[in-house]
Subunit: 296 residues, 2 copies
């Protein structure tokens, strides 16, 4: 397995995080004088996190020699959708998590109704933000349609539902379907939006989509491994909560050695897939190769 220089990847991730955080400081919802609700949404947007989805938007756009300015709105939009899903996931009626990224969850900080509405706000503003993309309206409309599909019943919110309300005998096929929704859809659409901003044609886009699903699968697989083996400090949340709750994940059907082995093989295969695409996809390949060894 070819090893990638982690310093290079970490520098790219850090640079993308600073870039999207600058973008998030200028989103429209901050300019709204109506109510305190916007500041609640900002609290969650500022909670840090690795900003992997914005990184993927920018990396895909840059891979095709698109300018980062063309995809900044999309990068903010995917981070807003990701953040909305965390805010709603943490609510007492859902996963009931009191902390998120080492800080009090929004409903703990501000109240349940406030967190509910702030999540709604982030979801709807993601579309408002995306629609400000400085590209032709036809391309922007294509991006919005893909974002709605990725966040919709077949994917993100459907996957969250499956995660909450599974059947006890849910098997491999069911778990993979849940992951394609809960995690992979937003990883995939991040790459798709970046590629669209970079001018991808349909053929490249289809390959990116397919590889994006596999990268998302890998992302969840390594998250499940960490949930079993990581430390609370490293994760920034409680550990083994999934299995303690009897939730189904990939570690329900794979022993830990098989899971680690599957992660390594998938990482190499996904990296090779990206390297075979037109353009320079080295940043995305590096992320894939990094994931099996990640500590958080």
């Amino acid at each position: 397995m070819k090893e990638h220089d982690p310093a290079g990847l970490h520098g790219s991730l850090r640079s993308a995080a600073l870039w999207v955080e600058e973008g998030l400081r200028n989103i429209a919802l901050r300019r709204d004088p109506l109510s305190r609700l916007s500041s609640l949404a900002v609290y969650s947007l500022e909670s840090g996190g690795k900003r992997v989805r914005p990184f993927l938007v920018r990396a895909a756009c840059s891979a095709l020699e698109g300018l980062p300015g063309k995809c900044l709105n999309a990068a903010c939009a995917v981070e807003m959708i990701h953040t909305y899903s965390l805010v709603h996931d943490d609510l007492p009626a859902m996963d009931d998590d009191d902390t998120r990224r080492g800080r009090p969850a929004l409903h703990v900080e501000s109240g349940e109704a406030q967190a509910l509405l702030a999540g709604d706000l982030l979801l709807v503003e993601a579309f408002g933000e995306l629609m400000e993309t400085p590209l032709g309206q036809a391309r922007v409309a294509e991006m919005a349609a893909r974002l709605a599909r990725a966040a919709g019943p077949g994917y993100l919110v459907g996957g969250q539902y499956m995660d909450m309300f599974h059947e006890d005998d849910a098997g491999e096929e069911w778990i993979e379907r849940m992951i394609l929704g809960k995690t992979a859809a937003m990883i995939r659409v991040s790459l798709e939006l970046g590629a669209l901003a970079g001018g991808a044609d349909e053929e490249v886009l289809a390959l990116v989509s397919s590889l994006g699903d596999r990268l998302g699968f890998l992302f969840q697989l390594t998250d499940d491994i960490l949930d079993r083996c990581g430390s609370a400090e490293e994760m920034g949340k409680e550990v083994s909560k999934d299995s303690d709750r009897g939730k189904r994940n990939l570690l329900s059907i794979l022993d830990i050695d098989s899971a680690v082995d599957l992660a390594r093989k998938t990482a190499v295969s996904v990296a090779e897939g990206f390297r075979s695409l037109q353009g320079d996809w080295e940043e995305v390949a590096a992320l894939s190769l990094y994931l099996p060894g990640r500590r958080r």
Copy 2:
């Protein structure tokens, strides 16, 4: 005050309701085999209601001689956004209403987490549905941007927040701003989307937007009058809940006679405004004239 034939209006409302309900039977989320979540969203979409917003979409499109088929996706989208806002509003952390339109609220029927996610689903799918509009992508992108703005922090969700968390001395200006968000934004954007589907130019669109805000204000004013004076049977929910909770609404600052008088005058003025526009806006004018006398 010129009286409008209520039979004609009721026929138009009923026809628009049947039309959008046919559309709602064919939305993409029903074709999703992933999870039970879609059927929960459908439960709320099928709870009836007057379908005023889809009526306004169609009426504005028809006023400019647009074909109803051009605005059916938009009509479904605004009804989905309206329904999401009701589902989340009814949750225990919010208004804590057990019934909606004479049936158990979704969280009573299915559970809180389920209702939360079904609301999220309706919100995101509204955008997915709108993006399928059979018009040029530039026009569809314009529609999506307006829908996001109407549902966003400055309007729908911001207004819901203001409604939940007001200051005790909130005065007339504050209440009017809340209404522009909570109620008027979706009334206005319904007319805007219909007008855009009907091919409106910017000048007509600006007039429609402004009149839409005033129609939305009238809608809330007559709702507040009903909340004070209506019966539970007529409203399909508990009466005087707003004032019992100490919520601020227009009846906090107007006595009932002044409110009824203001409603009558606004109705006539808004109807005249629509009648002065290019095209045949009689259906919308009729709705405006009907509102001061509505019983539910």
